[in-house]
């Protein structure tokens, strides 16, 4: 195809996407700038059509331009009908552009209905009560004449050429490093100044060339406002879309790959998520549903969120549909956690829609969404809250980018850790790590965090050295301490993909060349956390505490402890906010409770064995079975704290919950952990039980509850 025509097509399609956005904005609120932008778009297309010889396309664009001119000078006023007609004009133009792309001609269809509407509306004078012109008398700046218009400042470049430039810049960086080294040794002021100049220019050139392959993510979602409007109309719903971070840049090929999955998630949000206006009113929500699309950088990754404020994912519906469709057995369905059930959404063919609509509910989609995203190395997570909405979180790696990173050493080698995965650095000695208990956790201020030794995970020496640095790292919603031998530097690194022989290594996200020319692998913090078995579900975001994270692994983090009599028990680590030790003589009496001072609060204590058998003893903390330092698990239920006194803390393990039926109330079940029978305690249930007993003071002390 003629190169000029090809360029015209690309530009026109881009401007039509903008046209949709502008029209929707104008429909909501008259604005002279927006009107000017629409006018300019239409004018540019019309001008180019005349120039390139597409008479039918030109005629449609011309009619639209005339109508817009009327709006601009106030002789016609904006109505929903006009907005609709202009949107349909955009569609007509698009279909003609498609035709030009495939056949080279603008076809036979003159879209007379659209032209007719535009002309009729143009002829309708402004109504008396809405005479305020959308635009004032000041003339809109005329666009530059002829082909190109506002998009003249861009050129199209072959990606292969950009790749070649990238490689050359890489070589230049190394030559620069060499030169800087020589200049430092030579102590020649003239050479030093010259090398500084080369240094600075190289850095800027590197930055510039890197950016050429990136595109703002806007191109993937520019069609969303229109799509949301049309879909909501078709489904008798009301919905708007709000975008944030549309300038976030991603490699062009990645944007192409995630375009369709994102559109699918938005369609799903309207079809399944957003309720009808009446349902929303009953639920006390605004009539209009809101879909929020956000993108932001996080580590070596870009995170994209598609969130709606709709009804949330119906767990019960998933459960019954999965059983109906024979995906799982009824008995199995009863045992599955909410997370596991939500995970079923991604099974091919699964759909909970009551009826098949043209929009979704045909059972194709979510599995394709996940597949497409995983193909470019990304991941999808779902967080849903009943009645409050659903958020899909997509993480996409940047295979081609400059990211700030921390250079660490471990086992005699250097590694780069993306700075955005790093929360803070702590210098530690082996004593610090051993001081809590046998398990590898570290108490960072008030929080317990699991410790992972980088050398251990990577299979070099598993020894914890006498000293080192702890990199407090964040992997999606997990937080853990990564133990390294030392931290040498914080630099901007160029991320390069690993070759095919290493593409299966999930602990590395790529490699980079350090200033001295050596290669260092870039740690994939999420992959490393997975490999090391760091539990998911430890939430970092206080604002959505009550939402349900969906984990991809079935393992649960369990805190293993003994009760004061030595029986082995465990509790899900999620339920334990902190571990504390209190001297036995710091326990005081307050009413019927034993309490300790805990910061500026009073913390009630309860022995785990007493919670379990509902029994009170005298001298509860005087027995010899308890150590001088009481080991206490702090449990929080909203604002209420309870300290659960245990005998000894043994370990933190990562294990799937495979429970045998419980032997007594307050126990979720038993399982074999490290070769020993362990009771898994229902801590939340025990605490509720305790509260109920306390609010029924007349109840007799029954000894054992069973």
């Amino acid at each position: 195809m003629d190169e000029i025509v090809a360029e015209f097509l690309v530009e026109s399609i881009e401007s039509l996407d903008r046209l949709d956005r502008d029209l929707l904005a104008l429909e909501r609120e008259p604005s002279r700038e927006v009107l000017a932008s629409i006018f300019r778009t239409m004018h540019t297309i019309k001008g180019a059509c005349g120039f390139l010889g597409f008479p039918r396309l030109e005629r449609v664009a011309h009619s639209a331009e005339s109508l817009l001119a009327g709006l601009r000078d106030g002789s016609t006023s904006m109505t929903p009908e006009i907005a609709e007609a202009l949107l349909r004009t955009g569609d007509a133009l698009r279909s003609m552009l498609d035709r030009i792309a495939s056949t080279g001609s603008d076809g036979e269809d003159g879209h007379d209905d659209v032209v007719g509407d535009l002309e009729r509306l143009r002829a309708t004078p402004a109504e008396a009560h809405t005479t305020e012109p959308v635009a004032p008398a000041t003339p809109v700046t005329r666009p530059r004449e002829g082909h190109g218009g506002v998009t003249d400042t861009t050129v199209r470049v072959d990606v292969a050429l950009l790749d070649r430039l990238m490689t050359l810049v890489g070589e230049l960086v190394l030559a620069r490093n060499h030169l800087v080294g020589l200049a430092e040794d030579a102590a020649d002021p003239a050479l030093a100044s010259a090398s500084q100049g080369v240094d600075r220019i190289t850095a800027e050139l590197q930055d510039g060339v890197m950016k050429t392959r990136l595109q703002p993510i806007r191109t993937a979602w520019s069609a969303f406002p229109r799509m949301v409007r049309d879909l909501a109309l078709a489904l008798d719903k009301r919905a708007g879309v709000e975008t944030d971070g549309e300038d976030t840049e991603l490699d062009r090929s990645i944007i192409e790959a995630i375009k369709d999955p994102l559109a699918h998630l938005v369609r799903n949000a309207i079809d399944h998520g957003i309720e009808t206006p009446r349902e929303r009113a009953e639920a006390g929500k605004p009539d209009e549903g809101l879909i929020r699309v956000r993108a932001y950088h996080e580590g070596g990754q870009v995170t994209i969120e598609v969130a709606d404020d709709g009804r949330g994912i119906g767990i019960a519906a998933i459960r019954s549909t999965a059983v109906e469709q024979g995906l799982i057995a009824a008995e199995q369905a009863g045992r599955m956690t909410e997370r596991q059930l939500i995970e079923l959404l991604f099974v091919p063919g699964f759909s909970t829609a009551d009826h098949v609509t043209t929009v979704s509910g045909r059972g194709v989609g979510m599995d394709v969404v996940r597949t497409n995203i995983e193909r470019v190395g990304g991941s999808v997570d779902v967080v849903s809250e009943h009645g409050r909405g659903t958020t899909f979180k997509i993480r996409i790696p940047l295979t081609l980018a400059i990211v700030p990173a921390l250079i660490v050493s471990s086992g005699g080698r250097r590694y780069a850790i993306p700075q955005a995965n790093v929360l803070e650095l702590v210098a530690v000695s082996a004593d610090d790590l051993g001081s809590v208990h046998d398990a590898t956790v570290y108490r960072l201020r008030d929080r317990l965090i699991p410790i992972v030794s980088l050398a251990g995970v990577l299979g070099s020496t598993g020894e914890v050295r006498s000293g080192g640095s702890l990199v407090i790292a964040r992997a999606d919603d997990r937080r853990f301490g990564l133990l390294v031998d030392g931290v040498s530097d914080s630099v901007d690194i160029v991320v390069k993909p690993l070759g095919r022989h290493l593409s299966g290594l999930d602990v590395f996200a790529g490699a980079t060349i350090l200033d001295d020319g050596h290669v260092a692998a870039i740690v994939d913090v999420v992959g490393l956390a997975d490999r090391a078995g760091v539990a998911r579900g430890e939430r970092d975001r206080p604002d959505d505490d009550r939402t349900t994270p969906v984990a991809t692994s079935g393992a649960t983090s369990l805190l293993v402890f003994s009760d004061p009599s030595g029986a082995r028990m465990a509790v899900s680590l999620d339920l334990v906010e902190r571990l504390e030790a209190f001297p036995r003589d710091s326990v005081e009496r307050s009413g019927v409770d034993d309490v300790v001072r805990y910061g500026d609060r009073i913390l009630p204590l309860a022995r785990v064995d007493e919670l379990l058998v509902d029994r009170r003893r005298e001298h509860r903390y005087a027995g010899e079975e308890l150590p001088d330092d009481l080991q206490v698990l702090i449990h929080r239920e909203r604002e209420t704290l309870l300290g659960v006194v245990v005998g000894r803390i043994i370990d933190v393990v990562e294990h799937p919950l495979e429970l045998q039926p419980a032997s007594r109330p307050g126990v979720r079940g038993t399982m074999i952990l490290d070769g020993r029978v362990t009771e898994i305690i229902d801590l939340a249930g025990l605490v509720r039980g305790r509260d109920e007993r306390r609010t029924t003071p007349l109840r007799a002390d029954t000894g054992a509850a069973s």
Binding site: G170, G459, K496, L502, A511, V519
Partner: protein, 150 residues
């Protein structure tokens, strides 16, 4: 006539199609990659490009190299350059079909897969390496398992 770039591994002579060799490098600084398949010796910095180095000794099942003085043959592949580590690099030889024989039946298992055939040159045996196999094939000692593990 075929032209083979020759090299040695553990005292034996091998050759690869010279048109696939982009360049020959002296011993390079290698960054070993933990958890990588065994034949991956590490990554090298080839003028700003990061290239995976495969140790042909591991591929061929020969004893481990005692020093880190391996020469590097940079091979062109459709997916970018790959380095093959060899003991020593020799001259480029022209070989004729007349002296071609299939791989000797006595060849050890791992090597046998990688050898197209042999040429007798001046009483010496030159084994021609199958480039695709050497680069893409798997090493029997568990590289596959490593990949499937994830």
């Amino acid at each position: 006539m075929k032209r083979l770039a020759t090299f040695t591994i553990d005292g034996e002579a091998f050759g690869v199609d010279v048109s696939r060799v982009r360049e020959v490098l002296r011993p390079q600084d290698l960054t070993p990659i933990p958890l990588a398949p065994p034949e991956v010796a590490g990554l090298i910095n080839l003028r700003g490009e990061i290239v995976t180095a495969l140790d042909l000794r591991v591929r061929l099942g020969s004893p481990t190299r005692a020093d880190d003085r391996a020469m590097s043959l940079i091979m062109t592949t459709p997916h970018g350059p790959v380095s093959l580590l060899v003991d020593d690099v020799g001259e480029v030889l022209e070989v004729g079909d007349g002296r071609f024989d299939p791989p000797p039946t006595t060849l050890r298992g791992a090597a046998r897969e990688l050898i197209v055939g042999t040429y007798s040159i001046d009483d010496r045996l030159l084994m021609e390496l199958d480039v695709e196999h050497a680069i893409d094939g798997t090493t029997p000692s568990g590289a596959d398992v490593e990949m499937e593990d994830r």
